[in-house]
C-alpha cells in the first residue's frame, strides 16, 4: 500500500518536473535550431510582425521633442530603432518589418498572438513568465534625477555634486535605496507616498530633486510635473533594476533566434549605442558618474 502511494507520488513529481522543464528544454535546443529567415517560426512567412502599444510614446517610439510620435515605422525612438536593428540582425530588410498594435495586458493574456514579438517596456517578472515567454533583457532601467531647470542640482555631473542636495524618493522604490546607498547625501532623503506628493515637495522647494527610474522620469516630466526636466541619468545601476524583455507567445521557438541576435547587438556595441542615442542624447540628458 505504502509503495503504491510512493510510486504515485513519484509519478506526479516526474510529471511536474517535465511540465516545469518546458522553458529550459526550449533553450537547450537553440543551438540545434536554424535561424535562417526561411526557417523561423513566423506568424506571416517572410515578414517580421512586431507589436507595440497604442499609442507608442517617447522615448521608446519617437523622441521627447515629438519627432516620430506614435510612428514606429520611422525607426525613431529606442524600441523602434531596436526592432529594426534586430530585424537586420535576423536577416530581414526594413520593408519586411510590419508593425501591429496591442494593449499592454491584452498581449500577455490573449490566447491568439498576432505578432512575432511585442515590445512596450515589459518588465520581466516571474508572474508574467508563466503566461508568455521573454527574451533576454534588452534594457536595464537606470536611475534618473528630475528637477526644475533652476534647481541647485541642475548642473550636477558627479555624485559628489549631489552630496549636499536634498533628494526625495517614493517609498518602496529602488530609487530610495539608490539615494541612500549610492549617492549618500548628508541629508536623509525625504520619503513620499506618491509621486504627486513628491511633486508638491519639488514645487515648494522642499526637495532639490527627485530620483526615479528613467522610464518613470520620462513619464513624470512629460505628464505629471509641468516644467520639470530630467537633469541627468546615473551611470551606476541600482541594486534591483527592472529589466525589459521582448514578449513572445509561450513556447515560441523564435525567441531563441532573437536572443542570439540580441546577444550579437550587445556584443558589437549596437545596443549600448541605441540606448545612448535614444534614451540619453535624445532627451538631452547628462550622465552622472562617480
Amino acid at each position: 500500500m505504502r509503495w503504491r502511494v510512493l510510486s504515485a507520488l513519484l509519478l506526479v513529481m516526474a510529471f511536474v518536473a517535465v511540465a516545469c522543464g518546458d522553458d529550459d528544454a526550449a533553450t537547450t535546443t537553440a543551438a540545434a535550431q536554424s535561424c535562417e529567415v526561411a526557417d523561423l517560426n513566423l506568424i506571416t512567412a517572410g515578414q517580421l510582425t512586431v507589436a507595440t502599444g497604442e499609442p507608442a510614446f517617447p522615448p521608446w517610439v519617437g523622441t521627447p521633442d515629438g519627432e516620430g510620435f506614435d510612428t514606429p515605422e520611422s525607426g525613431i525612438g529606442f524600441e523602434a530603432a531596436l526592432a529594426y536593428a534586430l530585424a537586420g540582425e535576423l536577416g530581414f530588410t526594413d520593408d519586411q518589418v510590419v508593425w501591429v498594435r496591442t494593449g499592454f495586458d491584452d498581449a500577455i493574456l490573449s490566447a491568439e498572438k498576432n505578432f512575432d514579438f511585442n515590445l512596450q517596456q515589459y518588465s520581466i517578472t516571474a508572474e508574467r513568465d508563466e503566461a508568455v515567454d521573454f527574451s533576454d533583457p534588452y534594457y536595464t532601467t537606470a536611475q534618473a534625477l528630475v528637477a526644475f531647470p533652476d534647481s541647485a542640482v541642475a548642473g550636477a555631473t558627479t555624485l559628489a555634486d549631489l552630496k549636499d542636495a536634498t533628494l526625495g524618493a517614493q517609498i518602496g522604490t529602488t530609487s530610495l535605496d539608490f539615494i541612500e546607498e549610492v549617492i549618500q547625501p548628508t541629508t536623509a532623503p525625504p520619503v513620499f507616498d506618491t509621486t504627486v506628493d513628491a511633486k508638491s515637495a519639488l514645487e515648494g522647494g522642499q526637495i532639490d530633486g527627485l530620483v526615479v527610474d528613467l522610464p518613470t522620469a520620462y513619464y513624470v516630466t512629460a505628464v505629471e510635473i509641468e516644467g520639470s526636466v530630467i537633469v541627468a541619468q546615473f551611470a551606476t545601476p541600482s541594486a534591483a533594476p527592472d529589466e525589459y524583455g521582448l514578449l513572445f507567445a509561450e513556447g515560441n521557438s523564435l525567441r531563441d533566434c532573437v536572443n542570439v541576435a540580441l546577444a550579437a547587438l550587445r556584443a558589437d556595441g549596437t545596443l549600448a549605442a541605441l540606448e545612448d542615442e535614444w534614451l540619453v542624447a535624445a532627451g538631452g540628458l547628462v550622465v552622472i558618474s562617480e
Binding site: G168, I171, G172, L176, D177, A188, P189, P190, V191, F192, D193, D197, A198, S200, A201, E203, G204, G205, Q206, I207
Partner: protein
C-alpha cells in the same frame, strides 16, 4: 494623634487600577484581592493560550512579532522617533501659550472686544472643524508651493505650524472651560479692588482655571504625542515613516510594532500621570470640603 483627613486619604495609596470602594467593603479587601488575582491570571492565561494555539499565530508572529526584524528596525525607528519627541516638545509649548492667549481673548467682555471675540471664535471653529491631516497637507505642501518671498518652505516648520494651529484651538476651548468654571464672584471681586479686566483674568481667574483643567490638558498631551507622527506625509523622516520605509523594504510589519512600542513608552506614563493627578486633585477637594 489621629491622622488628618488628608493623611488618612493619602495612606490608601494610588488608586490607578482599583475603583474606589466604600469603607464598608474594605474589610473584605484580602478576599477581594485574592479573587481579583485568580480571575486575572485565569482570564489572561486563557487568552494567551487561545492566541498562541491558534492556527494563525505562526504567521502573525512571523509578520508582526519577528524578533530579528524587531532588532533590525528598532534603531532606525528610534532614530526617527527622537524627531517626534522634539516636534512634540516644541509644538506643546507653543500650543499651551497660544491656546491660553486665544482663550483669554475670547473671555474678554465688553462691546469693544467684539471683533476680537469674532476672530477667536472664527479661528476655533475653523481649526477644530478641519481634519488635522488636511491642515498638514494644506500648510506643508500648499504654502511652500506659493514660493512667497521670506516665507519658510521647510516641511518641519509647516508640519509643526499645522499641529499648533489645530491643537491650540482645542486647547483654547479647554482653557475656556476652565475659565468659565471659576465662579463669577472671583472676577467681580478682582474688578472691585481696581484690577482691569485683563489683570483680573490673568492674576485671579486664570491661575484657578488652569488648575481645574490640568487633566484635560494632559489628555491633549497624549493625543498630540501621537499626532506629531502625521507630519510623515510631508516626507519628514520621523519614527512612523522610518517604520513605513522598513515595511516597504521587507514586507514585514514588525517595524510598525517597534514604532508602537516607542509611542506607548511615552504615552502610557503620561496617561498614568494624568490619572494620578486627577485622583490626587479629587481627594484634596473632597478633603477640603469635609
Amino acid at each position: 494623634m489621629a491622622p488628618t483627613p488628608i493623611e488618612r486619604i493619602e495612606r490608601r495609596g494610588p488608586r490607578l487600577l482599583w475603583p474606589r470602594r466604600s469603607s464598608r467593603l474594605s474589610e473584605e479587601g484580602a478576599r477581594g484581592a485574592l479573587i481579583a488575582a485568580v480571575s486575572t491570571v485565569v482570564v489572561f492565561g486563557l487568552l494567551l493560550v487561545f492566541v498562541l494555539r491558534s492556527d494563525a499565530w505562526p504567521a502573525v508572529q512571523r509578520q508582526f512579532f519577528n524578533w530579528s526584524h524587531f532588532k533590525k528596525s528598532f534603531p532606525l525607528v528610534l532614530d526617527g522617533f527622537w524627531l517626534d519627541v522634539k516636534l512634540f516638545l516644541v509644538a506643546e509649548v507653543l500650543i499651551l501659550v497660544i491656546g491660553l492667549t486665544v482663550a483669554m481673548a475670547r473671555s474678554l467682555r465688553g462691546p469693544a472686544f467684539l471683533p476680537l471675540r469674532i476672530i477667536t471664535i472664527g479661528y476655533i471653529d475653523l481649526a477644530r472643524g478641519l481634519p488635522l491631516l488636511l491642515l498638514i497637507l494644506l500648510m506643508g505642501f500648499g504654502i511652500p508651493a506659493l514660493r512667497l518671498p521670506g516665507v519658510p518652505n521647510s516641511a518641519l516648520f509647516w508640519g509643526v505650524a499645522a499641529l499648533v494651529f489645530s491643537y491650540a484651538a482645542y486647547t483654547a476651548e479647554v482653557y475656556r472651560a476652565g475659565i468659565d468654571s471659576v465662579h463669577e464672584s472671583q472676577r467681580m471681586s478682582a474688578r472691585s479692588i481696581g484690577l482691569t479686566q485683563t489683570q483680573s483674568l490673568w492674576h485671579v481667574v486664570v491661575p484657578q482655571a488652569v488648575r481645574n483643567v490640568i487633566p484635560a490638558l494632559l489628555n491633549g498631551f497624549v493625543s498630540l504625542q501621537k499626532d506629531v507622527a502625521l507630519v510623515f506625509v510631508l516626507g519628514v523622516r520621523e519614527g512612523l515613516r522610518e517604520a513605513d520605509i522598513y515595511n516597504a523594504r521587507t514586507f514585514n510589519y514588525t517595524s510598525y510594532i517597534a514604532a508602537a512600542v516607542l509611542f506607548l513608552l511615552v504615552s502610557v506614563p503620561v496617561a498614568r500621570l494624568t490619572d494620578w493627578y486627577t485622583d490626587r486633585d479629587r481627594r484634596r477637594k473632597q478633603a477640603m470640603s469635609t
